[in-house]
């Protein structure tokens, strides 16, 4: 009887579907903070010995000078690594990665990119990712892992020499670290722009629904 009543008026009795569980939201915002600290201090560190013919403006760097930036970078790295590891373990253990991010088919990605470019990509159900989202979210997890591994290689090139070998040598690891940063910043620009275009998604990442 009660179940029938519930079925009659689902909106009033049943709470709205949880799109982002609490652990995802908490880890997402910790990651956001850690990433911003890592990127801004990383830019200051880059400025001490630039790989390319440019430096980052002081206005967007953190730490004031190299030593300050290194302190920030090697403090925020714990936040980034521990939170990231917890996210990977929970994502795998709960099956969320598999359910949300797989499968990714090239055909699906192409048709969704076309739909997006023609403003026909629907966002009716925020709990289901389209192929472009799947590709970007899965891709950024991979980049996130590679930036940590290349960072560890630069930090401990002797103690973690086996890891450095993965990237060729110390100097290569620096370039890989830089390009991963560039990929994350590019992702961030798209990610934030789309969150603003679809405010419901931002709300879901804050209150879950």
């Amino acid at each position: 009887m009660s179940s029938l009543a519930a079925a009659d008026s689902p909106t009033t009795v049943e709470p709205a579907k949880v799109i982002q569980p609490a652990w995802v939201r908490i880890m997402h915002w910790i990651n956001a903070l850690a990433m911003i600290l890592m990127i801004m201090s990383g830019w200051q560190i880059y400025n001490a010995s630039p790989l390319f013919d440019f430096r980052f403006s002081r206005d967007i760097t953190l730490g004031g000078w190299l030593a300050g930036a290194l302190l920030w970078h090697f403090a925020a790295m714990w936040l980034l690594m521990i939170n990231g590891l917890a996210y990977l373990i929970t994502g795998l253990a709960t099956g969320r990665f598999r359910k949300k991010l797989l499968p990714i088919s090239p055909g699906g990605v192409i048709s969704d990119v076309n739909a997006a470019l023609n403003f026909k990509l629907a966002h009716d159900d925020l709990s289901k990712y389209n192929y472009v989202q799947k590709l970007l979210y899965a891709g950024i997890i991979v980049v996130r892992v590679v930036i940590v591994l290349s960072g560890l290689s630069i930090w401990k090139p002797v103690q973690l020499h086996w890891l450095v070998m993965l990237f060729g040598d110390y100097d290569n690891a620096r370039y890989v670290h830089f390009f991963c940063m560039a990929a994350i910043v590019a992702f961030l620009v798209i990610h934030v722009a789309l969150a603003i275009l679809v405010p419901r998604s931002l709300r879901a990442m804050i209150i879950g629904r």
Binding site: I45, Y46, A48, S49, R58, D59, I60, T61, L62, G63, G64, W65, L66, A67, G68, A69, L70, L71, W72, F74, A75, W78, I154, W155, K156, P157, V158, Q159, H161, Y170, D171, R174
Partner: protein, 261 residues
């Protein structure tokens, strides 16, 4: 970016902060502080200023850096050797690096120079260069990695520091070997004992098979391929075996003290 700054210095009124800063700092420093947020560098320049939030952030960062010292000491494997390279891999020209121009590098007369030995050692005799040159030497071609990120491969020849420590009867249970140098402003740096006893840690007398040139630390440099470059002191004039942490030129300015690679 204005919003960002506000987030980074929570609770600090940006306008008031700028007003305060204008009063006490020259233009460049002011820029530094605002962009640096709770940076240690800015704090050094701001000594005496009452910037509460930056102060607590600074304390936290210093604590984490000490924690990182412990983590690195735990990660340090005394048997793990820094990779070595063929002679063909040597970086030419090998860069000069210092907080002064090469023209201001110490000019030391090898005939007058002596290495002072102090602290927890049996034999505190000073060593002339000729005496040191008599000790067995080994060569290494390893990568020098600067805290700034760049690296260069060089060839260093000299006496393993652990052999010298044994020779002078150093107490190798002590915490540090502390080096003092002839650089202007008095460069110094502590080296943890386990790193000092690492087989590749070397009292270096030659670079690329030639007597160590002035640019690279004549007459003696300490080459530690398991440490960042600034923990490889040049123009060394004394070493002290000690249990006290005596600080270092860069370490005191906020660079991580262990700085192992």
């Amino acid at each position: 970016m204005g919003r960002m700054r506000k987030l980074l210095i929570p609770g600090v009124d940006k306008k008031l902060l700028v007003k305060d800063a204008i009063k006490v700092m020259p233009d460049l420093t002011r820029r530094r502080f605002i962009s640096g947020g709770a940076s240690l560098g800015a704090l050094t320049l701001l000594t005496g200023c009452d910037v509460v939030d930056s102060d607590s952030a600074d304390k936290l960062l210093t604590q984490v850096s000490k924690f990182n010292d412990a983590v690195q000491a735990w990660m340090f494997n005394p048997d793990a050797l820094a990779p070595t390279f063929p002679e063909s891999a040597i970086t030419k020209p090998f860069p000069f690096n210092g907080y002064y121009d090469v023209d201001d590098a110490p000019e030391i007369d090898g005939k007058d120079w002596k290495l002072d030995v102090r602290g927890l050692v049996d034999n505190k005799k000073s060593w002339t260069l000729d005496e040191l040159y008599q000790l067995p030497q080994v060569k290494q071609v390893t990568r020098h990695i600067c805290v700034e990120g760049w690296s260069a491969i060089g060839s260093w020849t000299g006496t393993p520091l652990r052999d010298f420590l044994k020779l002078i009867g150093a107490d190798t249970r002590a915490q540090y070997v502390w080096f003092q140098c002839a650089d202007k402003e008095g460069y110094n740096s502590p080296l943890d004992m386990r790193s000092a006893l690492h087989p590749q840690t070397q009292m270096t007398f030659k670079f690329a098979d030639e007597i160590l040139p002035r640019a690279y630390g004549y007459p003696m440099k300490i080459r530690v391929p398991t440490k960042l470059g600034f923990k490889n002191p040049k123009y060394v004039i004394s070493m002290e075996v000690t249990n006290d942490y005596k600080g270092g030129y860069w370490e005191d300015q906020g660079y991580n003290s262990f700085s192992g690679s």
